[in-house]
Symmetry: C2
Subunit: 126 residues, 2 copies
Amino acid sequence: MAIERKSKQRDAIINELCSRYDHPTAMELYLSVREIIPNLSLGTLYRNLTQLEENNMVLRIPDGSNDRFDGNVNPHAHFKCITCGKVYDLMSFKNDSITFSDDIIGQVNNYSLMAFGHCKYCNKIN
Amino acid sequence: MAIERKSKQRDAIINELCSRYDHPTAMELYLSVREIIPNLSLGTLYRNLTQLEENNMVLRIPDGSNDRFDGNVNPHAHFKCITCGKVYDLMSFKNDSITFSDDIIGQVNNYSLMAFGHCKYCNKIN
DNA sequence: CTCGTTAACAGTAATGATTACTATTATTAT
DNA sequence: ATAATAATAGTAATCATTACTGTTAACGAG
């Protein structure tokens, strides 16, 4: 669904998301934006996150039933601490090289790589 | 939590999961195993999946609030069709080389790579 | 083999993130 | 200014997963 009109709520959501680097969950983001717009509705937050994702203005980081969100829309890898649950950037792009920071953040025990696209065998609109 | 006793239910779950390659969700797996153990409890399925994952006998493929499960515990990449929702194996390992099959399954539009481990900055037991 | 301990189970209730719904507000084109 | 309707606030509903409780069955000791 395309974005057709401006709204203070959406502006505040994007602004908050782009000014932090900790990959907040919907609820964490909600509590932050609430400090600027005290009567922000949780439904509004979710609707905007979905809409912004569809318009490539926000990146969704799948994380069970607690997805995280990132203002950096360039697809990049993440590291999740099994113990505390925090999510860090795993790779950084500088100049033309990719820097892995797994030895800085912590030991990587496991990973999950999921690619998204449209399959050939799909009988739905494709 | 360690597995201490055998159970017919757990055996049936593992057996079903290892005999198919379509990365079923908990519910899909539940319906299949039900055909063998008609009064299998959904709670039992979830408990066993978690336990089997902890004991590296089953791989959990994060997928929103509909995680998928795989009897192949060797970490490997997956491809999810945005249209139909099916999940395929993206990479296959043969001899010493990794074969990417994105051009066979479909076009990759985006990806999500999440690594798991223990971070340095974590103040919980580590 | 029988018994006792308790892991594992079936069935049901509770939880919690997300989505849907409805009446109201506010953006934007005319 | 006004009309059309996108976007919102607040609330209710949904749905996958987890927690709870009484019962069953695996298995080690006698």
